[in-house]
């Protein structure tokens, strides 16, 4: 492997993602694994497999930025940066015109606003609650004995504009049972779940000003989430090529930029 590599590791509540970039910013490798109980192990697996796909080893890593809730568990990291900044950086690289980024993650959802210079001007996080997050979907999917992919496939076949009104995950579960009892089509109930999340997201971005992009694991696996957001926000949504890896990609880009200044670059430490 020639040349130094720049690595971003995003340790999220559901998955640990790693992106490896070459010195010119080209993607050299990436990998995602479930975060599980042992963040150290998931970081090692994601990192080593991403490096493997780049035909490189840890010795080739020039600089590493970690992000996500488990960012402090990444021993190889030279710097830690929040996922809010990293998702903004990653999305902006894919879509320079983007002004609003919606990150629908497993544990929380964030809306980040950036200006024409790429600076973060505002951000909002959901309240301490599963509503509006991937956990909401996962919880209902478990209740129905289905996978997220199954629910997404059903939702994409829905023709009705059904909505699950409850924000609360527990209440939504009850509401789904009521809808089933009423004989509502499972396709429509499934789409209603995505609209419930989109409705919650819309509280954080009531009137999108400029292009809207989405990142995170939920939109990577569920196209119905993108459809629901487009419906509720009444705007086209930019879906990047690797939405689940946006945070890790942003972290890798920041690793490149940090290495250009110094190893001890000022920042959140």
């Amino acid at each position: 492997m020639s040349g130094p590599l720049f690595v971003g590791v995003d340790v999220g509540s559901s998955a640990t993602k790693c992106v490896v970039l070459r010195g010119d910013g080209a993607l050299a490798g990436h990998h995602a694994v479930p975060s599980g109980f042992d963040y150290g192990e998931s970081v090692a697996t994601a990192l080593d497999r991403a490096l493997e796909s780049a035909e490189a080893s840890r010795d080739d890593v020039a600089y590493c930025v970690s992000t996500g809730y488990g960012r402090r568990k990444v021993e190889i990291a030279d710097r830690q940066v929040t996922e809010i900044t990293c998702h903004a950086r990653g999305a902006r690289e894919w879509y320079p015109q983007v002004r609003n980024i919606i990150d629908v993650g497993g544990q929380d959802t964030k809306v980040i606003r950036i200006n024409e210079k790429g600076q973060m001007t505002d951000y909002r996080m959901n309240a301490k609650c599963a509503a509006g997050t991937g956990t909401f979907l996962e919880s209902i999917a478990v209740k129905l004995g289905m996978s997220l992919t199954d629910i997404d496939a059903l939702a994409m076949d829905s023709k009705a504009d059904a909505v699950v009104n409850s924000y609360c995950t527990v209440f939504a579960g009850t509401e789904v049972i009521e809808r089933i009892k009423e004989g509502q089509a499972k396709e429509d109930i499934s789409m209603g779940l995505f609209r419930s999340i989109a409705s919650r997201v819309s509280e954080m971005i009531p009137a999108p000003d400029g292009a809207v992009g989405v990142t995170g694991g939920v939109v990577a696996h569920c196209r119905a989430m993108v459809r629901a957001l487009e419906e509720v926000l009444k705007t086209d949504i930019l879906l990047p090529p690797m939405p689940q890896h946006a945070g890790a990609y942003g972290a890798a880009l920041l690793a490149m930029e940090s290495s250009k200044t110094s190893k001890g670059a000022e920042g959140v430490c």
Binding site: Y69, T82, D122, K128
Partner: protein, 413 residues
């Protein structure tokens, strides 16, 4: 943050510990002495009246904060919920009632006393919230003691003479009730003295907070939370004045010597809303590590009253009790915050959305957004609570704060 950076402790803190200990031991002794009487009072309640009557004054909200700071509130709140007090009502109230039911008090561990002193009378003002009325009533029933209170007009813009007159009338009714119940007569000279001492302590407290205008600031929000005890617990006494004169001298010296509460201060922040007592140290360490000083807060300013001009002491008590920030309308609050941002050269503001304290939360009606737009200052809102840790997510809040600092860094570039 450099690992070598260390806090330079404020020396007065050692004396403060001894003052607070003496205060509680005195209260405990008074409760056991049939010749002395104890009054419970809200933190911005009619304290001076009680002092003038000769009561030893105890502040239950302080007990609520102690339960929070000891990280035990959530263990006792369920006891109060079982008695019919909603888990989402004031966690000071629910934890205080719950701990009483369980027979626990942090005062035992801290000062070796059984717990809060038994009240002979309980006095409140709803100028900060209406919950205190029911909280006091609970303990009034429990201890078979009279409960007296002021329910002043709330959410005020400009304060008018009618407002003051109304509250003064309420205070007069409290005096009449205490005189009648205990067969005592208010000594007006003592009331004037208590008001003058209270006002003097309050002015010194304001001067103490003002030292944080310096760059770098010699004190931060967490220091304010520690050193505000005398202006609440010992209001109306010379002890508070003596303490703040010494503290002020020390802080001015720190300021002149360039001693920073947060070494290499990069950002100056404003804190709005209640403290998160169970997470005080973690949050303080986080801001310290990020080299951000919380230079000013709404909370600590709650006891910085206008000076007493020697007129009618009841007028002063009435006016100061209703002109506090929490009792004002959104327009006043926005003007106050704007002035504070300018006065303390604030880079951004942190708003605490306290789940069980809507009255002391200012992020529920668009205030952060309005301030961001009018002042072009970044703001962040995080969800939490003053005492109940079950409403607080450490990981989410810390990420929120770090991202906020990253936002400030980007603006600086």
């Amino acid at each position: 943050m450099s690992k070598a950076a260390k806090r330079v402790e404020i020396k007065a803190q050692k004396r403060l510990k001894s003052l607070v200990r003496d205060y509680f031991l005195n209260l405990d002794a008074a409760a056991d002495d049939s010749d002395r009487k104890v009054a419970w009072c809200t933190s911005v309640g009619p304290c001076e009246l009680l002092v003038a009557f000769g009561f030893e004054v105890y502040f239950p909200e302080n007990h609520g904060a102690l339960l929070g700071a000891r990280k035990v509130s959530h263990e006792y709140i369920p006891r109060a919920v079982g008695e019919g007090y909603c888990a989402e009502s004031c966690s000071y109230m629910t934890s205080d009632i719950g701990s009483s039911l369980a027979g626990y008090s942090p005062l035992t561990e801290a000062f070796g006393i059984a717990g809060p002193p038994k009240p002979d009378v309980l006095a409140y003002s709803t100028n900060q919230c209406r919950e205190v009325q029911d909280w006091w009533s609970y303990f009034g029933r429990k201890h078979d003691a009279p409960v007296v209170g002021v329910c002043p007009p709330a959410h005020l813009g400009a304060i008018t003479p009618d407002h003051v007159k109304f509250v003064r009338g309420e205070l007069v009714r409290i005096i009449e009730r205490i005189e009648s119940h205990f067969g005592m007569k208010l000594d007006h000279a003592k009331l004037e003295e208590a008001v003058a001492l209270s006002s003097k302590a309050s002015s010194l407290w304001r001067d103490v907070l003002d030292t944080a205008r310096a760059r770098p600031s010699p004190m931060t929000f967490s220091d304010g939370l520690i050193h505000m005890s005398p202006v609440i617990l010992m209001r109306g006494s010379q002890i508070a004045i003596d303490y703040y004169e010494d503290l002020l001298a020390e802080l001015k010296q720190r300021r002149d010597d360039g001693v920073a509460a947060v070494p290499d201060e990069r950002f100056r922040l404003y804190w709005d809303g209640m403290p998160v007592w169970p997470k005080l140290r973690e949050l303080s360490d986080k801001f310290f590590d990020l080299r951000a000083v919380i230079a000013a807060s709404t909370y600590c300013n709650s006891w910085a009253f206008d000076e007493y001009d020697g007129g009618d002491p009841l007028d002063w008590m009435a006016k100061t009790s209703i002109e506090i920030f929490i009792n004002r309308d959104e327009g006043f609050k926005q003007s106050f915050l704007t002035e504070m941002f300018e006065r303390f050269d604030i880079d951004g503001a942190v708003f605490h959305n306290a789940r069980t304290c809507p009255n002391n939360t200012n992020s529920r009606f668009g205030m952060p957004q309005r301030l961001r737009e009018t002042l072009d200052k970044p703001v962040v809102v995080f969800d939490g609570d003053l005492s109940d840790v079950r409403f607080f997510s450490t990981a989410q809040t810390m990420t929120n704060i770090e991202a906020f600092i990253e936002q400030l860094e980007e603006r600086k570039r």
